[in-house]
């Protein structure tokens, strides 16, 4: 049964897979960047932890409460940033913002992989904030540690 193509562009199989089987869900041991972020309009919450070693993101994990879009986006984000330099992770976040706004983006530099499945969110303006929550947490954590 289908509720129409538009819904199917939002709830892609790969999104539901990340929702059902989130990658990197849990907490890191030892010292790490620790960011808590809420979406005050709807009650979604994420705690993101990242380990940065030699300017690279060595590990990332999250726990949180939220809808399929926000949790799958967190899962995909943690997967994508592992191994990236801090600068590249922030660049990837910019690309993700562009995707959410339905803008063109330069994808040559990164393998977006599963993240491309979230493109459909751009057509559901009320859900964009769900998708960007984890990314904003990542940006906040990395920007703050750069300032230190």
């Amino acid at each position: 049964m289908s509720l129409g193509n538009q819904l199917d562009t939002l709830y892609r199989q790969v999104i539901m897979d990340h929702y059902k089987n989130p990658r990197n869900r849990g907490e890191l041991e030892g010292d790490s960047l620790n960011i808590n972020m809420n979406n005050p309009t709807c009650g979604d919450r994420i705690q993101l932890q990242m380990k940065v070693e030699d300017g690279k993101i060595a590990d990332a994990k999250f726990v949180g409460e939220g809808c399929s879009i926000s949790l799958s986006s967190a899962s995909m984000m943690t997967q994508a940033i592992k191994g990236l330099t801090v600068d590249d992770a922030l660049k990837l976040s910019e690309i993700f913002s562009a995707i959410m706004l339905g803008k063109d983006y330069d994808e040559d530099k990164f393998d977006l992989g599963d993240i491309e499945a979230l493109q459909g969110v751009a057509k559901f303006p009320a859900r964009i904030k769900c998708a960007t929550l984890a990314w904003k947490a990542m940006e906040k954590g990395l920007n703050e540690q750069e300032e230190e």
């Binding site: 509720l3 129409g4 819904l7 709830y11 059902k20 709807c42 809808c67 879009i69 859900r127 769900c130």
Partner: protein
Amino acid sequence: MNAKEVREMFPILNQEVNGHPLVYLDSAATSQKPTPVIKALDDYYRRYNSNVHRGVHTLGTLATDGYEGAREKVRSFINARSTEEIVFTRGTTTAINLVATSYGRENVGPGDEIVITPMEHHSNIIPWQQVAKVTGATLKYLPLQQDGTISLPDVEETITDKTKIVSVMQVSNALGTINPIKEIAAIAHKNGAIMVVDGAQSTPHMKVDVQELDCDFFAFSGHKMCGPTGIGALYGKKKLLENMEPIEFGGEMIDFVGLQESTWKELPWKFEGGTPIIAGAIGLGAAIDFLNDIGLENIEAHEHKIVQYAMERLSEVDGIEIYGPKDRAGLVTFNCDDVHPHDVATVLDAEGIAVRAGHHCAQPLMKWLDVSATARASFYLYNTEEDVDAFVKALIKTKEYFGNVFG
């Protein structure tokens, strides 16, 4: 009351959303507006837009008559003794903040208590948190029963002679609970406290009589009762309002202005600094006329029938958890299996059905329910059993849809 005929008076309902007839089940967030209200706003702006209380000219008089006429309509609607007791505000939030900031900070001190409930809307929590912070008072919460109701023995126990203010919502926007305001007010008064009522969810749906409730302050919003956004009212007992300082100063609210000191106008205008919400008040007056024509008792009976029907239909669907008491106002807050309420709301929207998903501005209540969010369908005079049928059908589709993608 014939809901199908009533619907005809709400032009917005006659449209398709995402290829389906609109089923609007979010009236607890804001109600739709009937033609007479839209016409009243249009008429004001086209025919007699002008500032009030100052123009000698004809339009100024018409605007003043419209604005003050609306105040009399509000007075009569909630049965206040006089229009001096009706202050126009931007809405419920502003009204409660006025009481908290003006009355609260002046009359509450260290060691005193303010009593509220965990089911309150944020607008009836945070103003009191701020008063407690500034004055050194304690903010206490009445406990809730398992079904989200308040028990009077608990009220007797919680309110003490240290309690200065009790503030409770008459109807819960998240649970639909109808609270025993009159009884709570009596207990508050017995202990020397004043009773503040958040009437945002009751005033649109049931007959409110502030003298019968014997509350000291009563706040409500126009936009939830077929009126425009940006207008609401605060009722306060004259004796209390007289002794309160304004919190906004400027034009309109003054008696005499000197270089160093000024004096205030009489009630209620001393609380209405600046050019008031003229069009909004006139629109609210039209909404009151509209509701009175239909009859609050008819609206209440209709919503009771619809919400009971909704509860019955929802009980036929597996995996639906409903929050709140059986006996309730016209809304149902629920969760659906493991599907997050945002996802429920998005799928329902694709079927043209508007429901609310989230924490309903009641985070402490969500914590009490031990959920991060819920979905809510809320009903008003224009909703029909057909709306409920469409809603339940779409909810079953939602379950199937997510059942499939979860595979």
